[in-house]
């Protein structure tokens, strides 16, 4: 087995991971990126539709700047965010992020006369080349910066376990190259977890194929503290068909260079969401939309898996397609655009929660382990926020690294992980394939840990997962035992992480006894700021887990009420 030594191992090749690696490299600290997909071509960052303008950048007024901060804290995080961090982040985005990107060559979309094209509204955004597709050229630029800097990459390589030192600190990563089947131990003085915010735990989920909660599961196994794991976001208008397009969104956001945007109709053909009227702040549509849909579902005029419609039928095709990609799905289905609406459904999207970090350094609760981007529990992901995390973690690691001694290779752990993976590869029961089990697990989550939750459904989901773990896993069957490009084997590895993370999500959901933003408890319908304006902190203890509540301070924005029906709360 190959053993590689580097200064810092970065797990994940998205916005946070790439930026962390670039920044460390600039400081003379040697990073190595371990990416389950391809750096800059997989993961959540690829899906960034546009870039929100923060602060006073690009002609933003004071009011725009304030709105953006309010959007981030209120609509995007439902106050479950460190507001000081949010402020630091906003300032960095304004002063450093956009200019640095443009200087590196990012093409921020202009019109023929050279004006930067923005979306109208109280919060403005820009696009990299085309709205709806900004993540592609954005991350492509990062990929090329990483190549240009000569930063080592291990691509299509899954991190399967964190390696720990005798003192409990993290000292490396165990990896499997999915294409060649080779094992590698990466020994590093610090490990940055940057695996993103979405884990595809539900039947309908956004995010890319390789996402399966690996970052959370690996960190948890070593005892990292987590928080707000229940705070799951949803996309309310992704295409209902075909299954693989469950992450294809009919964007409700304001369009670049236009005053119009998409609208949504229920099964009776009545409009129930129109961004201009229903979300005047113009950039918090996801939760606002979700709440509007919940009311329709309760009235029998929509289902979470379809039966309602979205599209641009009140817009002019040329206007929509001038700066956006929004017509592409309709056209590829052969539907007249924009006259026809498409049937839509809900998909699970970001998770706000994740690994607990000190937002000044991105240290986790385990020495040597840092987290950046969506996998962290300090904020909901956005490509700019993830990038700021990449920068912060690089500074944090640089500060600490001189004091961290290089670890010795933990032979015992390597052998144990090898044999765990080999056992999975030779699963020869007479039961279902790992792919089938993944789908079964996702079905449990979709059915009982979906948009609307209650204690009895959540408990029954725990029972179902227990059944999968105890009854079905031992009989799992892998047909192909080859090492090279064996996606069945990868599915089996993923499944172990997914099961663990699903349980943590359910336990956390049971613990938060209120409804807040996209987190809807039928048995606790009120948003309860008296008791739950707090992080739902999850700690490992012995073989079990325990919860702690950690209130947030509110230096900039406060909810202004104690308790209220969540469906009547604007955010």
């Amino acid at each position: 087995m190959r053993v590689i030594t580097t200064d810092v191992a970065v797990i994940g090749g998205g916005a946070a991971g790439c930026y962390a690696a670039l920044d460390l490299n600039k400081q003379g600290i040697k990073p190595l990126i371990i990416c389950k997909g391809l750096v800059g071509k997989s993961g959540a960052s690829l899906f960034a539709g546009n870039l929100v303008i923060s602060g006073r950048a690009l002609g933003n007024s004071d009011e725009n700047a304030r709105n953006t901060a309010e959007f981030l804290i209120k609509y995007h995080n439902q106050f479950l965010i460190d507001q000081d961090w949010a402020q630091r982040c906003g300032q960095w985005l304004e002063k450093v992020y956009y200019p640095e990107l443009e200087e590196a060559g990012l093409y921020i979309r202009r019109d023929d006369y050279g004006e930067v094209v923005t979306s109208p509204g109280k919060i403005r955004s820009i696009a990299a080349n085309v709205q709806g597709n900004s993540g592609v050229p954005f991350m492509d630029l990062r990929r090329k910066q990483v190549i240009r800097a000569g930063i080592a990459r291990m691509e299509e390589t899954v991190a399967t376990a964190l390696l720990s030192n005798a003192d409990g600190s993290v000292g490396g990563v165990f990896c499997l190259n999915c294409i060649t089947g080779e094992y590698t131990a990466v020994m590093a003085r610090a490990v940055i977890m940057a695996t993103g915010y979405s884990d595809r735990l539900h039947t309908r989920s956004t995010g890319t194929r390789e996402m399966s909660g690996d970052g959370i599961a690996m960190a948890w196994r070593l005892g990292a503290t987590l928080l707000n794991m229940e705070m799951q976001w949803w996309h309310t208008n992704d295409l209902a068909h075909p299954p693989s397009w469950q992450r294809m969104q009919i964007y409700p956001n304001p369009m670049l260079g236009s005053e119009k945007s998409a609208r949504m109709l229920n099964s009776a053909g009545d409009e129930f969401f129109n961004q201009q009227q229903d979300d005047p702040l113009a950039f918090g549509p996801y939760t606002v939309q979700l709440k509007a849909l919940v009311k329709q579902v309760r009235a029998g005029r929509a289902r979470y898996d379809g039966g309602y419609y979205a599209g641009f039928d009140k817009c002019d095709a040329a206007e929509v397609e001038k700066y956006t990609t929004y017509g592409k799905t309709f056209r590829q289905l052969g539907l007249p655009f924009p006259a026809h609406m498409a049937e839509t459904a809900v998909s699970s999207h970001y998770r706000q929660g994740g690994i607990d970090v000190d937002t000044n350094t991105m240290r986790s609760s385990i020495p040597g382990l840092y987290a950046a981007g969506g996998v962290g529990g300090h904020s909901n992901g956005l490509i700019g926020l993830a990038t700021y995390d990449g920068r912060t973690v690089a500074q944090g690691v640089a500060r600490d690294i001189a004091d961290i001694k290089a670890a010795s290779v933990p032979q015992q752990q390597l052998e144990a992980e090898c044999s765990r993976l080999e056992r999975l590869r030779s699963s020869s029961g007479d039961g279902p394939s790992p792919g089938k089990l993944k789908e079964e697990l996702r079905a449990v989550m979709w059915k009982n840990v979906g948009v609307e939750k209650n204690a009895s459904d959540l408990r029954s989901a725990l029972d179902d997962i227990d059944r999968i773990r105890v009854k079905l896993l031992p009989g799992m069957k892998i047909r192909n035992t080859a090492k090279s490009a064996n996606y069945e084997w990868l599915d089996a590895i993923d499944l172990m992480n997914m099961i663990d993370v699903c349980e943590l999500v359910i336990h956390s959901s049971l613990e938060r006894k209120e409804s807040r933003g996209p987190f809807l408890r039928q048995d606790f319908p009120l948003t309860d700021n008296d008791n739950w304006l707090a992080a739902n902190v999850l700690k490992k203890s012995g073989n079990g887990l325990r919860f702690e509540k950690r209130p947030y301070s509110l230096p900039l924005f406060a909810p202004g009420f104690s308790r209220k029906d969540n469906l009547e709360v604007a955010w």
Binding site: G37, P99, Q145, I179, T208, S244, A342, K436, N486, E488
Partner: protein
């Protein structure tokens, strides 16, 4: 028409010659998305690396149709229900990552984007080594892209946000920015199919290069160094790349032709053949293959006497005309159109 029909085919467009291609494609798409109904069985033949049965190493599957089914849905169905060991690569499922490209009935497509056919043969991309089943080794492509150093080196200091730049200046580069490096074009390119016979970089690496080489912010010096490594004049402009591009990038007209023009300007020796052709036509009013080859290859071209004889017998070359520099009646017109400076770098 109901408010949200979603299933009816597009109304027939008024006949407009300029939009014929678009209309045809639209009709086929509508038809392909609508001619199958829920539960219809599709016949899917997948080329496998480790199947011994059958001459063509294809394995057959019957897959029930689901509404608006894409090829990726069919492959996922097979992996979940019939062959859990089927190897195929995909990440995003929504035409962003560009990793799920395969050949469907002989044509390069993105599995996540293409509607299924009732009867399909699915094969891996060409021009790249197959790792297993539908998974190809991307290394050759990635290395070529990296060697072209497709990034910006500014010749003027950055002016600050927002820097002066218009979309007109980015017209061609912005088309190239739609590239998702799926390598469909790389698989379809007949010149790449010739292997090491040429030093052609291939359409996909050229699109990647064009993102910065056609960006006015890039230094001409940097662009020149990159272009020197492309072998771009080996492109025969057959439009195969453009035909299969899932991102609808006009690869020949908006990428390769502008890059060729840049190369002719920055590295004129690369364009020797084009310049000679243009000069011959301008002066003599026709293409004279004999003169063209002599001018481009010099006396080297005389070494293969058997070939020269064969071409002479078939009337492909006419040495007397070439030596005397005879003009056709079109010479005057050709000279006027191509200009006096024709052929001069």
């Amino acid at each position: 028409m109901s408010v949200f029909p979603g299933d009816a085919p597009a109304p027939a467009s008024a006949l407009d010659g300029r939009r014929l291609g678009q209309t045809e494609r639209h009709d086929t798409l509508a038809a392909r998305n609508l001619r199958l109904t829920q539960g219809d069985l599709l016949l899917v033949k997948v080329r496998r690396s480790e199947v011994s049965a059958g001459d063509d190493a294809c394995q057959e599957f019957q897959v029930p149709y689901q509404k608006w089914m894409r090829l990726l849905d069919a492959l996922n169905w097979i992996a979940e229900n019939a062959a859990s060991d089927l190897a195929f690569r995909w990440f995003c499922g929504s035409k962003m990552c560009g990793t799920c490209a395969v050949r469907m009935n002989g044509r390069e497509v993105l599995a996540c984007w293409e509607a299924v056919e009732p009867d399909m043969v699915i094969e891996p991309l060409r021009n790249l080594p197959v790792i297993r089943d539908l998974v190809v080794d991307r290394t050759r492509y990635e290395e070529k892209v990296a060697s072209l150093e497709p990034w910006i080196e500014r010749h003027q200091p950055y002016a600050g946000l927002p820097e002066p730049l218009t979309h007109k200046q980015m017209k061609d580069a912005s088309k190239a920015l739609d590239c998702i490096s799926c390598m469909c074009c790389y698989s379809a390119c007949p010149v790449i199919g010739l292997g090491n016979l040429t030093d052609f970089a291939g359409p996909a690496p050229l699109v990647q290069l064009a993102q910065t080489a056609l960006d006015p912010r890039n230094s001409p010096d940097k662009v020149r160094r990159s272009l020197e490594m492309t072998g771009i004049f080996n492109c025969v402009s057959c439009y195969k790349c453009e035909e299969v591009c899932p991102a609808s990038i006009p690869i020949v007209s908006r990428v390769i032709e502008p890059l060729k023009a840049k190369a002719a300007q920055l590295v004129p020796e690369m364009a020797a053949h084009s310049f000679a052709l243009r000069e011959v036509v301008a002066r003599r009013g026709r293409v004279d293959p004999g003169e063209l080859v002599l001018r481009v290859q010099g006396l080297r071209s005389l070494r293969n006497l058997r070939r020269i004889l064969r071409l002479f017998i078939r009337g492909k070359i006419k040495p007397i005309r070439t030596l005397l520099g005879l003009k056709t009646s079109a010479a005057g017109a050709a000279g006027r159109i191509l200009g006096d400076e024709a052929g001069k770098p």
